[in-house]
Symmetry: C2
Subunit: 230 residues, 2 copies
């Protein structure tokens, strides 16, 4: 068997045997144990990372993945509630809030001209202290006046409905597997180029008007999508 496969197998068995383990041995411990080099050890580690078995935090080490959050994009369930149902401690934090005139792609998405002003909310969500998702939300500044003074760590959908009388009735989501952009990797404290599931959500009101445009980057090993269809 290939050496990096042997190392992978060893670590896989180690994880299975010690479910209470959180952190793996360091790369240098592993290369000594297997009389090998860092290149080979890292090949085994990145393989397990791709499989979603382990993850790294920048320069801190390699850690064992907890169970994935199961999420149904079709059901409109509150993130905090969903996490709690699955025995996670959930946390949402505001990263930044900006209001500015639209970039071209954004104006086009909303079918408006580039003079329109938009809010841009950036938030990060964690499960049991581990950041797992960062999102950008774009919505019209004229439609959501004073949004910056609302409790932006809570459900945006609820704020839209209760404070502005805007109800989301349907949405269109797109999912792709890709590498996370560097600025988002910093927020999640993952390595540059980490794998993610990128979800773009366009949400509409009953008049079929676009209310908000949402880009979510999920740490790939932290989530499992579940969809029911009739």
């Amino acid at each position: 068997m290939l050496l990096y496969q042997e190392i992978r197998q060893y670590l896989f068995a180690l994880i299975a045997k010690h479910p209470e383990l959180k952190k793996l041995p360091s790369e240098r411990e592993l290369l000594e144990k297997f009389q090998s080099t860092r290149i080979t050890v890292r090949e085994a580690l990145t393989r397990l990372e791709a499989e979603g078995v382990i993850y790294r935090q920048n320069r801190k080490g390699w850690f064992i993945c907890p169970p994935r959050l199961k999420w149904d994009p079709v059901q409109k369930v509150n993130f905090g509630q969903l996490a709690q149902d699955q025995n996670f401690t959930a946390l949402t934090q505001l990263v930044s809030f900006e209001t500015a005139v639209a970039q071209e792609w954004l104006a086009q998405t909303f079918e408006l001209n580039t003079a329109s002003k938009f809010h841009n909310v950036c938030r990060v969500r964690s499960l049991d202290e581990r950041p797992v998702m960062v999102e950008e939300i774009y919505c019209l500044a004229s439609q959501f006046h004073d949004l910056q003074h609302k409790p932006l760590e809570d459900s945006i959908t609820t704020i839209f409905a209760q404070d502005y009388g805007v109800n989301i009735t349907h949405e269109r989501s797109s999912l792709v597997v890709t590498a996370i952009p560097d600025d988002k990797a910093d927020v999640l404290n993952v390595n540059s180029g980490a794998l993610c599931l990128k979800i773009i959500r366009k949400r509409f009101n009953q008049h079929d008007e676009l209310v908000d445009y949402n880009i979510e980057y999920w740490v790939h090993s932290a989530i499992e999508i579940e969809v029911d269809s009739k």
Copy 2:
């Protein structure tokens, strides 16, 4: 800027400027051009691979990704039709057909005992000659007698309905990002450990009975999931 980022940028621009290009320069050409080493060149290449911009075929080289197939798991659209609508030439091929008593996990999924016999159909699907998905389908041998003599390159759903009077009325899907198992990597002609989107589909009839259990492995850069929700 980091060297591997420079190489990545160069290749990214090269691809943008020459959309007609199919294959990248070899790793050794690139390391000469950048006066670097294979480790660093491969860091740039695997980054672009994770982003879904390029892909490799085992020992053949690095290739530029064509547009992704857009697919809605909720709509029940025929694969061939969907591909044709998006200007792909689609092909489904039978890889293997076996009938055997159930392994434990399978029997449990169907809530039957391990003496039950199951069909196991393995198929591979290609877009414009590029294999993009391999799937395993499990269904009860007693329910689908002589299935091996049906046209298994066509829609299984249609065969179930027309030849056996079994109609799929609803299903439950689960999606995770992971690394593809080695036996499936061989079928798709991708490298060991390649990224994939793994979709498990349980499909039911009107009596809420499980009809088939389906595991799909999609090449991650070949697909984009689209979901509408009310």
